[in-house]
Symmetry: D2
Subunit: 408 residues, 4 copies
């Protein structure tokens, strides 16, 4: 199926030019689709129409283009430009680089199919007995004197009917979620969104998992809260318990945060910390009593930043502030997100999906996880607005602090 | 930004009805986009136009719809249907289930915005002082006597300008690659593609990594080759070496394939196997000499199935059949894929990307890996046609054999 | 640091031979460690002692060995065996294959250090001016006439002091969790454990996530319950809801389980299913009423198999059987695991860790997940007894059914 | 199987005390293992022996301990300490926290088995009719007046025979590779190792993948080379090609490194860059000609830092410096690693395994990857010395630069 793109400019409606073009193309027997049509916003603005016509036969396609041209449509009928190799293994500068779709080149009044379709090659033209032939050629096989297509003029790529419907182009790096993108840029975007939200006095909700503490990054989250960049914290027993464990005993899940080593009896540390807070009655009471002297939860208490700790079946203790009934816990979160403009979901799949469930799509959402799967699961459950940043919470938080506060 | 969809049927071109509608809408000051336009394939077929009109003001939108209606356009102006809760915590059957986009419901001649936008809820309507209000309500909070919207009639969802351009609907499970899909179905599709290719005497190319041997599945690949379902094998030193190690010594990378345990001196096994084949001079010679008596490579030799073993810098030995120059190796693969209709890429990222590079997009390609990232990397490098199956090679191969040969 | 291993057999206690050996070695100035010592269980059994002696100087080590030998200790002082290459690029059969640790070979009364240490090579010996030298040689560089070490006799590998303490040997595939093992064997082990548990009338607890339904494997789990192999089910709202959605509407999270495609309005399906069960009052009531006619939950009800559904903050609905208070939910699970001999944890990280927390280490536990990280997290939280099977739940369940029931 | 640990100090050899103890224990019928035995390094140092004795019967164990005590052995026979709960849901400070292994507590002259074994609980003692019973109790179920064990004195945990052999203790976070560790510390260790290597004039080898460029971190690697911290670069065509693409065209695989977006024709960029270098003849020539003005490869050339670019079958172009024969490429790498003290492997599995294969175990090796599986594969192929850092290359490199150079 060969296709060609036609464009019509000007006053299409008053003069019924569009209707006439569509009518005649129909009569010729080609399939016509109106790809794009925009009426000028003011009546004096010119309107624009783009059509794609398709035919199985190249001759018919050419006739249709010519007739449309007579009616004022423009289309591209320029032939390919050629250049000659002057160094073995080197393509001419500006060489056309192939995709893996069927391709034709316009040359000598013909549409010549390219043989041996393969991506990332040049297109070599040669005269074979009585006609021109075109073929792909990997860079290192170019020979001095070979003729190659340069530029994209006169090159037609048949991306197939489905792809054409979606205006799909051949491209690299088209997936939404990838570990191979420059994350520095995405983190800068998150910082910009946070700044804008706070300037408008809207909330920035932070949903976080315990890996933030395990990885030694709790002080960065505390800093974001302290400086007013994060205004609501949604988490579970684990983040709070290990944050308090780290403050009381210097470990997280028993791992010394300075040396990275598991200490003796480390596995009891979080239980001891939780028990001490239960004795005090609440995290705020433990802060008042001087049992907790720093960290994420301490900063929430001292800055009056609201937090919701939701219960889960794997909780030890739990901390007295944890809401064990999950329906109540979800309601408590609903009560905090009504004014949210930005939501940061960091290193927690369960909680991210849960909060995604109760957020309107208008909340700018960033989902940070080392596992691309977490982001895929989140968007597969309806939170399409989430931008995935596949990275470490340490890196995300330190880079974010640097953007918002200068040095972290 | 509110929007409405209009439809025009019939003979739009001859009577210039489309042009008139566009003209008048423009005059009213709404933004109009022609979403879809199809000229009948034969001149007697009616044509069809779908337009979306957008306005910031609901009143203007309503006026525009009415005027378009007078000109023959149809649009949906039905109001929501309502039903009443009769059991606490249970929504009426057929309840409308919300998305996370801004939503309006048509009721009492008004477009009422839904408050508290959140996905997976019902929409409750209630009379508040002097007007109707609509709000989301989680299922468990429905009370006897509450009034809920049922069905989708009269519900308007504002998916935003961008999403509208891409005809995006709110949906779950929209990502291309996910570990959460029923793979049995996708494997059946692969089996169908293979059957069709072989019926047409076209090649089925298998690109495989050593995990096929490590996981104890080499006999399944050998069976596919033996039965003519796989007609070209592209692999590296590792798959072949461990396949031969398994045949000679019963281990793969030293792990006993029956017990799953590493044996003493297991780490030398693949080297001993490679050394023996080097002494014979080639894999085929080792088969002739009786040194290799089964497995994947044995079956390639005895069935005359072509194989290409490409070198890599982590190769031990390598086997005498391995092509150490990567440019020569790529050429050798090119020589084998010209007649391919199907390509199976199983458990090897490097090789999958390399083969993807030299395949035309028309080859039906399945990429099987336990890591979704491999499929993402492959499509991000231009092999858009690949269907990702995120699963184990053991499962894929045994299920595929069952589909193609009956019991495996 | 050179080391040598000495062995003493016989009646070591009565004759104080061990004490004497230790004493003399100490006097010579070598470091001695008693690696292994076993007193015969009956007094007539001979006892056994193994010692490692270490010295920085090879001469001292040799003297110490000789003196220990005079006192009845045995040690290995045989020199390396050699063979000559007869084909270029091929090592002599039985060649010694190197590790990456410092290595010495005993030859001509000397301990000759091997130069150019690198794994997976042969050891080539050559006479250089006035002495023997040894060096690693990759297989493909062996030349006809070269002399290589064969076997391990006379080869000394210095694995370092730490590794020696842990009796570490150089080996491949030593990690506990790997995607590269033959899983068929591990699944057979699980089947054996289940059979043994049921023969002893002990419980087999199944902890499962919703991916079991999404992947189209719910019928396999239902079969295991039906046939009495699984006697307790621990899960959350999602597994049960999607199982019932699949039975009522043929989809899971809106994805058609036959075609693998998301249908229109698919995202509302699980809510409709949950709502219907809420109306009935419980899953059992919905089964009685004929609303649910098959699947996992249906089979639990009809076979009187106990199940516990624990609440989580991401639950929609939830189903009326779900216990929303997580402390109550955990107690309900505790009440079901007291008689457990085997626990299968399939495709659910949160629930696996939660159940791991309440199980004694004596319960044989298999953790099945596509992500090795889940198993690592589980064992890092104290459930050391878990055997990780890094694979797809579809494959695990179909293979398990085949082992237990014949064809699945 | 109950067990007890005995310790003997002093001059054990001369007086044959050890032999006598072993003899008598044997006569009593308990199983004795010598766990640890250390002869003083100088003959005047006291020696030390630790024995574990095991018996199925607690009475026998007690008799054996008493007899050994008479012979000078020490052992722990203290009973548990108890404390009483004074707040509901709070355990007494210092409470003993359980593991999931069978546990006994010494109280009232008895070894009382703890019932309901479960980790992370307290141990509650209560008088039941005519005897003491012990049971686990989750923190939130402690009632005022309950009696709990505090500390570890008098608590016996039966870790099983296998675990005892490996001196295994119950602990959290025991796996070697985990995403949940504080990476900041590990990166500081890498910085220290690099400083030490450079101070000793030894090489620091960097093995890198193209994700370094894709993620926008190439300038950090260039900085490490510029400042002499990295002295050898081992990579493939992709890293070098995208680094040069980024310098020439501002993109990596067509993705703009400032905006993170794929530009038009982006997929041809790396080919244009490679072609230009091929025209120049080599990377060094392109630098001299002013075609390359910055980046990793530029810095290698201008600082005379040796690099080896190894070919692979997925190479486009390739760059003229790439060695297409993999055996030659491996030899070229061997020639560069002879003086290496540290090796950093960053974001490349294939290359990491390949270089791991040719490095002696004495080279301090750090393997940095977002996927824990890469590190597992590397150590499973014999490179046991590698320390895995499961993180992003952006984070690793920026943190490393900060450690080595101050601000990055």
């Amino acid at each position: 199926m060969m296709s060609e793109r036609l464009t019509l400019h000007g006053d299409l409606l008053d003069q019924h030019r569009l209707a006439q073009v569509l009518d005649e193309l129909d009569a010729l027997g080609v399939t016509t689709r109106l790809r794009r049509f925009r009426v000028g916003e003011n009546s004096t603005d010119p309107s624009l129409a783009e059509l794609t016509i398709q035919a199985h036969d190249h001759g018919l396609l050419v006739s249709a283009c010519r007739r449309a041209g007579e009616l004022g449509a423009t289309y591209d009928d320029a032939e390919v430009e050629l250049a000659t190799t002057d160094v073995d293994g080197v393509l001419p500068e500006g060489f056309h680089s192939t995709t893996n779709f069927p391709t034709y080149v316009l040359h000598g009044g013909e549409a010549i199919p390219v043989e041996g379709i393969e991506m990332d090659c040049g297109i070599r033209l040669r005269w074979d007995t009585d006609r021109w032939r075109a073929e792909t050629c990997p860079m290192h096989k170019a020979q001095v004197g070979d003729t190659f297509v340069v530029g994209s003029t006169g090159v037609r790529v048949d991306v197939g009917e489905d792809a054409a419907d979606h205006r799909l182009d051949f491209e690299f790096m088209s997936s939404d979620v990838s570990t191979e993108r420059p994350k520095r840029r995405m983190i800068a975007d998150a910082a910009d969104a946070i700044r804008a939200a706070r300037a408008a006095d809207l909330d920035v909700v932070f949903v976080g998992g315990p890996a933030i503490v395990h990885s030694g990054s709790a002080h960065l989250l505390a800093q974001l809260i302290e400086n007013g960049w994060v205004t609501v914290l949604l988490a579970g027993n684990a983040l709070a318990a290990h944050d308090i464990e780290a403050n009381m005993l210097g470990t997280s899940l028993g791992v010394d945060l300075d040396t990275g080593r598991s200490g003796p009896h480390g596995h009891t540390h979080h239980l001891r910390a939780i028990n001490r807070v239960r004795r005090a009655g609440s995290i705020a009471a433990a802060v008042s009593a001087g049992d907790i002297t720093g960290g994420v939860m301490y900063t929430c208490v001292t800055t009056d930043t609201p937090f919701v700790l939701c219960g889960s079946i794997r909780d030890d203790g739990p901390l007295p502030d944890v809401i064990p009934n999950v329906l109540d816990a979800t309601d408590a979160m609903r009560a905090q997100v009504g004014n949210a403009a930005v939501c940061l979901m960091v290193a927690t799949m369960l909680h991210s999906v849960a909060v995604g469930n109760i957020l309107p799509a208008s909340v700018t959402t960033f989902c940070v996880d080392t596992d691309a799967d977490t982001v895929i699961k989140l968007t597969d459950r309806g939170t399409h607005q989430a931008t995935g940043i596949v990275t470490d919470c340490e890196y995300f938080l330190s880079e974010l602090c640097r953007h918002l506060d200068g040095e972290s």
